[in-house]
């Protein structure tokens, strides 16, 4: 009798939950379909007209590059300095962003911040820095400073401060305060407490996030190059605008960019796994 009632209630609940689920899925599917339809209508070319020719461009690129395969190493060698520039933009802005983000994270972490009352202020500042796309700052700075890598570095660093600052602060919140208190009891100043008490605890996770960011920043710096901030993106833009007959040069740059992104993607993923696994190892007492 009671069991029946419980079963009935359970089934009613289940049916209601399923109905909710179905309705949510229907709304989601309708939004997706309507959205694609709207995007399709506002696009210059339609999806169905364009679909047959979607492989034409890659096909033309690859077949022309295949015919002139001998010229590819030469193109790559010529574009190498700009690839190095792109990597330098990414690395410098990751470093600068990590330094700025680390400082901001410590100022925005309750318990570690030297001015606890200002923690909300620094958090909002991080939110704003994170919300500004690199492109916006880069375009403004290109107007003032002229084209080149420096606007890109400043723009990406600014965004990186916001992105890493938030992640760093989450890591620092979980750091043990015992070493900090120990250092405080022997009269260490705030920078000393942070440098000797907090940084050793958070370093592996911070480094892991930095590597993730480095990989993201390589992509970002390639895109910024495309709008005029130097590096491989700028070369790519030029190579594309030459058009047919010079597809081998464009293909060489496409290939370089692809290989670089895949390479750093794999490298950082291996390095991050090792860092995080090494840390777990340490927590289990495997290391001093």
């Amino acid at each position: 009798m009671t069991a029946d009632r419980i079963a009935a209630t359970y089934h009613a609940q289940l049916a209601r939950r399923r109905a909710y689920g179905t309705v949510l899925w229907a709304i989601f599917a309708a939004l997706l379909v309507a959205g694609f339809d709207m995007a399709n209508r506002r696009n210059a070319g339609g999806f169905l007209q364009g679909l047959p020719s979607v492989l034409d461009y890659p096909d033309a690129l690859i077949s022309e590059a295949w015919q002139k395969a001998g010229a590819l190493p030469g193109h790559m060698w010529r574009a190498l300095p700009s690839l190095v520039e792109t990597l330098n933009i990414a690395a410098a802005s990751t470093l600068l962003g990590a330094i700025g983000g680390g400082i901001m994270a410590l100022l925005a972490t309750p318990g570690l911040a030297p001015w606890p009352r200002l923690v909300p202020l620094f958090r909002r500042l991080l939110d704003i820095a994170r919300a500004i796309p690199e492109l916006v700052i880069a375009l403004v700075l290109i107007f003032v400073l002229g084209g080149g890598p420096v606007p890109a570095v400043i723009a990406i660093s600014f965004h990186t401060v916001g992105a890493l600052g938030k992640l760093f602060s989450e890591v620092a919140e979980n750091a043990s305060l015992k070493p900090v208190e120990g250092l405080e009891s022997v009269g260490a100043s705030w920078p000393q407490r942070i440098w000797f008490g907090v940084i050793p605890q958070v370093a592996p996770n911070w480094a892991s996030y930095m590597m993730l960011r480095f990989e993201i920043n390589i992509r970002a710096s390639a895109i910024l190059g495309f709008v005029g901030a130097g590096g491989i993106g700028y070369e790519l833009r030029n190579a594309i605008s030459w058009g047919q007959g010079r597809y081998d040069a464009a293909m060489a740059i496409f290939l370089m960019l692809f290989v670089t992104i895949v390479l750093f993607d794999q490298l950082t993923s291996v390095a991050r796994n090792r860092l995080v696994r090494g840390q777990e190892h340490g927590e289990k007492g495997g290391r001093i």
């Binding site: 989601f28 939004l31 997706l32 959205g35 694609f36 709207m38 995007a39 506002r42 696009n43 210059a44 070319g45 339609g46 999806f47 364009g50 679909l51 020719s53 979607v54 034409d56 461009y57 890659p58 520039e85 330098n88 690395a91 410098a92 470093l95 600068l96 939110d127 704003i128 994170r130 919300a131 500004i132 796309p133 492109l135 916006v136 375009l139 403004v140 107007f143 003032v144 400073l145 002229g146 080149g148 890598p149 420096v150 570095v153 440098w195 992509r219 390639a222 895109i223 495309f226 993106g233 790519l236 594309i240 496409f254 960019l257 692809f258 992104i261 895949v262 993607d265 794999q266 001093i288």
Partner: protein, 436 residues
């Protein structure tokens, strides 16, 4: 003695750590110095256009009203930023401009006055003196020799930088003076609107009880329409552009989620028994991710042309790679016990996935989708600037005209607000979904 021996390895370790903690900053510093040299940071000061920067900062928060005399026809007009569609009529002209079609007196800050005479003579009156500039058929003539340092005089052009950002220029073709005002001009209503130039109190009174300005609409509807169709700021188009950017992010993110989920099963070691299939799926994800949104955008815009669909598909392809990797990791980390339990009741593979696997992974998947939705709003802004859609395109166009800096400031503000709103929304939804 014993203490010293036990101390020895500890000291060695400490000195090694000290080396690292000292050496690392040195390496970082050395690298940054190398980059500074490679990027020619020293030469940047020479190349930087600081005047551009100053102009931009001033234009971000202020606007100019130009008073222009066409020296060929002798006609005098006043307009905001010199825009044809923002030209004042005699009725709504600011009160510091007086005169008529042939003669004008312009009062500038700090006791400066500029007179345009009917015969073309321009007189600049400053607290220190009176300067006459006359445009002629071949150039300009002036009646003074000792020009103050804020003047620049040549045979063809006279210009004077006056206080508070005002400036007078005289050439053969035209004489022009402008004065700066704080704020964004015509932000709410342009000059064609009957509501232009009214104070907040007047507008509120009109909205609530006043007589109808246009008998066909209520005043509130009229204000809404005039604001939406503002000919200078185009609020309606800007709202559309923001919607388009969010649409690109939405379609790209959630479309990628739908495509990536089935593929992720093929890449997860506990679902795909064949190593070959697993490797193929994983390399496919690496390919999608490695090609990157930039290259996808270029390839797709060749086929589909510029627009939001191209941007959506570029995000969709890149994120299919990202989600494929993330989802397959989530699938590999599930608890096998519910799966075993269902298997013991005779459930088939589809039922096992539906009732044992999905409940475990769906919070992770949803949370990642929402997280990437926010981040892709930013990507959609950038991709829009390349592929021609959304607020990114508007920003790019406003930058390229190098004139409408107040519009640039407005778009930047809107982008920041949009991304922060998406961040907030995605955070709220994630918190609710994960709690249940």
């Amino acid at each position: 003695m014993t203490v010293t021996t036990t101390n020895h390895p500890v000291h060695a370790m400490m000195s090694r750590k000290r080396m690292i903690s000292l050496g690392l900053p040195v390496v970082v510093l050395a690298y940054l110095v190398y980059v500074a040299v490679a990027f020619d940071l020293g030469g940047l000061a020479g190349r930087a256009r600081l005047d551009n920067g100053a102009l931009l900062m001033r234009d971000f928060w202020s606007y100019k009203i130009h008073v222009t005399r066409d020296n060929r026809s002798g006609e005098i007009s006043s307009a905001i930023e010199g825009m044809r569609n923002a030209t004042f009529s005699a009725g709504n002209r600011p009160d510091w401009i007086s005169g008529n079609q042939n003669f004008a007196r312009v009062e500038l800050p700090q006791g400066h006055v500029v007179d345009f005479a009917p015969d073309g003579l321009v007189t600049l009156i400053t607290p220190d003196g009176r300067y006459r500039i006359r445009p002629t058929g071949s150039g300009i003539q002036t009646d003074f020799t000792d020009a103050p340092p804020n003047f620049s005089v040549s045979d063809n052009r006279f210009s004077a930088d006056l206080p508070e950002g005002a400036r007078l220029t005289v050439t053969r073709a035209r004489s022009e003076v402008f004065r700066r005002h704080a704020g964004w001009e015509l932000f709410f209503f342009d000059l064609s609107s009957p509501f232009y130039g009214k104070s907040w109190a007047e507008l509120a009174a009109l909205a609530v009880s006043g007589d109808r300005v246009d008998p066909e609409h209520s005043n509130l509807a009229g204000m809404g329409r005039d604001f939406w169709n503002n000919g200078i700021w185009h609020h309606g188009d800007v709202a559309w552009a923001i919607f388009e950017t969010i649409l690109m992010a939405f379609l790209g993110t959630f479309g990628a989620g739908l495509v990536a989920l089935p593929l992720a099963f093929m890449a997860a070691s506990n679902f795909a028994p064949l190593v070959l299939m697993r490797q193929a799926a994983r390399r496919f994800f690496d390919l999608l991710r490695g090609v990157d949104a930039l290259i996808w955008t270029i390839i797709l815009s060749r086929a589909f042309g510029p627009g939001p669909l191209t941007g959506s598909l570029a995000i969709l392809l890149t994120e299919t790679g990202t989600f494929g990797k993330l989802f397959s990791e989530a699938l590999e980390n599930i608890d096998e016990k519910p799966v075993e339990g269902l298997r013991s009741t005779g459930a088939g593979p589809v039922q096992r996935i539906r009732w044992a696997v999905m409940p475990q992974v769906s919070p992770v998947i949803l949370s990642q989708l929402l997280y990437y939705f926010e981040s892709n709003t930013r990507s959609a802004t950038v991709i829009g600037a390349i592929t021609g859609g959304g607020i990114g395109l508007l920003l790019m166009q406003a930058m390229q005209t190098q004139k409408d800096w107040e519009h640039v400031a407005y778009y930047i503000l809107l982008i920041v607000v949009m991304v922060m709103a998406m961040d907030w929304l995605s955070g709220r939804l994630r918190a609710r979904l994960i709690r249940g």
